[in-house]
């Protein structure tokens, strides 16, 4: 934070040690990737990959296993150094920053890792407090506890889950706890790596609804990696398809369906995809009936999970 190359008013006065409050990002594209190349030895994962994420959208990222969805996310959040290319987050070039380098944007994004990646020796609430303590040590302990508590409830966990350790939680609760930690700093940008993987359809649908609601009320931009066709239909504004080391198509699902890329056709027209489409249609038709997401998730076509 301190010492970041900031072009706004210079830091003066007694609070010089504390950084400027960065105003919310107003530009159109919080994430801009150009000509990204990632390779592990001989194996090229990304080659000349370009992608722009619009502010306020939920962008679903799909692709077969091994097409580098997680590597792409790790590149953006700085855990993986690309061989070539440019990555801009909130208009700041962060290409090639060290994983623990101070780049001034880390307090503006939240990341939910696939397994939750909760700190196992801390309770859920203490997990949420970690980024708070790290970035805003001046906050009163009482306020920090309050923030942790309401974030826990906000993500749909029962209030008493706050004092539980990650090992005492179920898989779905761990995802929500991870989401609570990702949301701890009220980020503008949220990275979700397969949030619904390993959840039952009802739990997955509830989590989808939660993500959509939070995105709308908190004004988030979400970069969402998923294999879950229901998630794509239910909450994603646009979908980016990774194949052959590049983004081969990006757009709404109807737009993608018009593409003639064989993988996209197979992906969106397979038997599972048709079932998901049917569910999505029904959800849309029942949309006015009420907000009971669990109920809607129940009346899926038989054989959906097959």
């Amino acid at each position: 934070m301190a010492g970041q190359p900031d072009d706004t008013a210079p830091a003066t006065g007694s609070d010089g040690a504390l950084a400027e409050i960065t105003p919310p990002y107003e530009g159109e594209y919080p994430i801009v990737i150009e000509g990204l190349r990632n390779a592990f030895g001989e194996h090229v994962v990304h080659d000349d990959l370009s992608l722009k994420v619009r502010r306020g959208e939920i962008l679903g990222v799909v692709g077969g296993s091994g097409t580098g969805k997680s590597v792409l996310m790790r590149s953006i959040i700085g855990l993986q150094r690309p061989q070539a290319g440019r990555i801009e987050v909130f208009g700041k070039d962060i290409t090639g920053a060290e994983p623990d380098q101070n780049i001034g944007v880390r307090s503006h994004w939240g990341v939910l890792f696939q397994g939750g990646a909760l700190f196992s020796t801390l309770t859920v609430a203490e997990n949420v407090e970690v980024p708070l303590k790290e970035f805003f040590p001046e906050l009163a302990t009482e306020l920090r506890h309050e923030i942790a508590r309401y974030k826990v409830v906000l993500t749909g966990l029962p209030a008493d889950a706050a004092s539980k350790f990650p090992s005492e939680l179920s898989g779905g609760m761990r995802k929500r706890a991870g989401l609570a930690r990702a949301l701890a700093l009220d980020p503008e940008l949220l990275f979700l790596d397969e949030p619904t993987a390993g959840l039952d359809p009802i739990g997955a649908a509830l989590l989808d609804d939660l993500i959509r609601n939070l995105t709308d009320t908190l004004g988030l931009t979400v970069f969402l990696i998923t294999h879950d066709l229901d998630t794509l239909h239910a909450i994603c504004d646009r979908v980016a398809v990774l194949a052959d080391g590049q983004v081969v198509a990006i757009g709404t699902i109807p737009e993608l369906l018009r593409s003639d890329h064989p993988w996209i056709q197979e992906y969106f027209n397979g038997p599972r995809a048709r079932a998901a489409t049917a569910t999505a249609d029904r959800r849309q038709r029942d949309g006015a009936a009420g907000p009971g997401a669990g109920g809607k998730a129940l009346d899926r076509p038989a054989g959906q999970g097959a």
Partner: protein
Amino acid sequence: MREWADLDVQDGADGTIVALSGPLVIASIDRLDRKLRALDQPVAAIDLSNTQDIDTVGAWTVWRFARDHDARITGASEQASKLLEVVRGAQSDAAVAPPRGPTWIRVLGDIGITVTNLGHGVGRIVAFLGAAVVSFGAVLLHPRRFRIRALVRQMELVGVNSLFIIGLMSFLVGVVIAQQGAVQLAQFGAETLTINLVGRITLRELGVLMTSIMVAGRSGSAFAAQLGTMKLTEEIDAMRTIGVSPMEALVLPRILAAVLMMPLLGFYASVVAIIGGATISHLTLGIPFMTFLARIQEVVPIYDLYVGLIKAPVFGLIVALTGCYQGMQVEGNAEEVGLRTTQAVVQAIFMVIVLDAFFAVFFTELGW
């Protein structure tokens, strides 16, 4: 300079109005939060008309103040109203950490838990030894189930890979014993007894003892950490469901490898220590290297070698058993792996030294 959110207390028509100003976001809220908490007069309304950006932390602070003072919230922007609605639905008074009792109760409780764990621990490790023996018996009855490759691999890790470090350590121990012994014995003009000293002490005691300590540090800890991590990642559960007994596949090869390699390592350590003693004697005491080795044959009773070689497999068993046992006890989180690994090494070394004392008394009574 960071712009902090601030407040202004005004008198309105129907009571006190707290007017907030500045950005109500997490980075700017701290001072306002403290001021609001310190405010203890009745407040009719809290006004947000002069505020700028707001996030859920700001909304929470405002909403909590309104709740505690039973005040109205006025002048909220569209975004602010939305966020106020969000935090209203998410209020919670739950604890953020499990409740902790008074210190003296926790101290007493911890002592009690430690004592009972000690008692149960002895029982459990004996049970673990029993289970290992049973699965060894089962393997003897069905030799084809025996995992010879795993055993060879563990023998390499426990034995071959530690040859250098154990050799270096033993050589230096031999040097130190010979050199320090000679200084003391010279007072009686009995420097030649250095040979007896080095030969007997290394073959009988130090060779095996130092080797056990080194193996506990190298391999006992590795066993505990490996099995503990496999336990955490549910690999051990997966093995059980496939029908592979972790006892046979993981524990038995490790225990057998330690039991088989310890006598070899102990003997090797003693030999290298004698070479170290001979080298330093050759260099500083004027006892030729070959004379030193020849005298060893004459002054060291063969029983000393037997004593060392009998103790070695027992020590190997203890080291491997505690390592595997502690690894299999891991549950819950990553911290436990570290804790159990430490315990494995500490217990193994402690038990080896205690047992060595018993052996010393036992063999002396036997007249060896």
